[in-house]
């Protein structure tokens, strides 16, 4: 069975500090990977997607970047956090082009 693991579970970071969030998929070869962001009380906004290792496409610009260094790994990062980056970050995967399965998420508070 496929498992999706996100780390860290939660972070409190200062404005202007760097950030790196990770996501690993096990039990699935060449998954399609996605990053979503959910502001408190807000909807789920897709940030990035990656269909193959080394290739990432941006959906919205939020001063964030993503990379896929390995087939089973997806990284979300920024060099300088803003207050507006606070929220719930979710990694998801799919085998086809629908049916997304979400990880348990990372809660980020920027102060």
């Amino acid at each position: 069975a496929q498992t999706i693991h996100q780390w860290p579970v939660a972070e409190i970071k200062a404005v202007g500090s760097p950030l790196s969030l990770g996501c690993t998929i096990k039990g699935k070869s060449s998954p399609n990977l996605y990053w979503y962001w959910q502001a408190t009380g807000g909807t789920l906004q897709q940030l990035f997607y990656s269909i193959t290792v080394g290739q990432v496409e941006s959906v919205v610009q939020l001063n964030l970047s993503a990379s896929r260094p390995k087939d089973d790994q997806f990284i979300l990062s920024t060099e300088k956090l803003l207050l507006s980056h606070s929220g719930f970050y979710l990694c998801a995967w799919s085998s086809g082009d629908s049916d997304y399965t979400f990880g348990s998420g990372t809660r980020l508070l920027v102060i």
Partner: protein, 114 residues
């Protein structure tokens, strides 16, 4: 562009009453996939049900929905609400194969009271 509209931000009802959460969508593509996701407090969204077949009812865990392409709707229904149904419900649209984007509505918070 593609979009999903959920008109009710908050729905509160009494246990045992029927549930209906509205979802309409906009897309130029003729064969969209529609989904309902449920998110309980402090958890991640979980797929509840999905459809891509016009006018066919799909059911899961007591909930059902029918995709109506003529009205671009995919309303979620349940005959009798339970306390455990209290959660945030998202309607989502996958407009076309290869778009790689699952677009979510604004969500409806359902609260079921005893």
């Amino acid at each position: 562009g593609d979009s999903v509209t959920q008109t009710e931000g908050l729905v509160t009802l009494t246990e045992g009453l029927p549930v209906m959460l509205n979802c309409t969508y906009q897309t130029i593509y003729s064969n969209p996939f529609l989904f309902w996701y449920v998110q309980h407090l402090n958890e991640s969204p979980r797929l509840l049900l999905k459809s891509f077949t016009d006018n066919k009812r799909t059911e899961h865990q007591g909930f059902h929905a029918t995709l109506h392409k003529s009205s671009s709707s995919f309303h979620l229904q349940k005959s009798s609400a339970q306390l455990s149904d209290s959660a945030l419900y998202y309607c989502a649209l996958y407009a076309s194969s290869g778009s790689w984007q699952l677009i979510f509505g604004s969500g409806t918070q359902l609260t079921v009271m005893p």
